[in-house]
Symmetry: C2
Subunit: 156 residues, 2 copies
Amino acid sequence: MSSPSKDRLRLWLRLLRLTRHVDGHLRDKLRVDFKTTLPRFDVMAALSRHPEGLKMSQLSGVLRVSNGNVTGIADRLADEGLVERVPVPGDRRAMTLRLTPAGNVEFARQANAHEGWINEMLSGISAADARAMAAQLIVVAQAAENKEKINDPSHA
Amino acid sequence: MSSPSKDRLRLWLRLLRLTRHVDGHLRDKLRVDFKTTLPRFDVMAALSRHPEGLKMSQLSGVLRVSNGNVTGIADRLADEGLVERVPVPGDRRAMTLRLTPAGNVEFARQANAHEGWINEMLSGISAADARAMAAQLIVVAQAAENKEKINDPSHA
DNA sequence: TAACAATATTTCAAGTGTCAAAAATTTCTT
DNA sequence: AAGAAATTTTTGACACTTGAAATATTGTTA
């Protein structure tokens, strides 16, 4: 009793189970070791990759979360002095969000620990397998994302 | 510049990207097509696999979410007549949650659509590859989960 | 230039999620 | 049997998340 559809469903459930497990562990570690959360870490990681800062809309685009979501997280990070809002010269609507020096220091600590946690949890995969699997996932993800554009009437 | 640790980190980021993509698409479809949410679907799916019902604590254990979380979701599903709380004979503290007949009918519709969505999004993977990848993920997940028990003092 | 559309962000309401503490009940111990 | 400890669930406070509505600004166009 098996079909391509069932096989893919089972793969999805496996995938979900693993990512939820790792995700949950990361949340725990971030909370206990750094008194922060995964969404906050994600925001800081995105800003860390863009030292010049990102506009709020760019940030929500990169993280693939809603606009309003980022507002609240940025508020709380700003309260703690880890990020700052900088006005955009030519456009008084927009704000650029970027890490403060303190934010940079703090994120470096967190990112280092983060890589260690992942390495430990995924130690069941060899480096070669990890590379192979990642390569395969790129193909899968592209297929999944293209699937949508085909059904997206905004391109008609 | 590559290391086993970086390879695994990259794999994790790929994994996360794909699951978030699929996850988001499922949420959209559930919302638009069925006016429901993924957590509600998850609860109903768990109950569907246990027709005799599950105690609240068992349910949160299966779903790996907190106790208090399930309370709220169960409340809303019960309001709509999709699940019902049944007292446990020997224990007046506990409640068994189970699908109502209406809930069963509704979940069957949703589960059918759900399998179709997954099949479509993961169509970039052949059935054979899906089976192979799922098998590999089982190993990875077990390694990840065992890793914790080793560090868990509750087994000392 | 006045009206209208588009863009950038915030605010709002509702649902989801966590943890910690409270409430109710059961079980263990003495 | 009384009291303490353990179990089961709910409640409360806070954070995250979304989609939609509200604000403010910029761009377009008649």
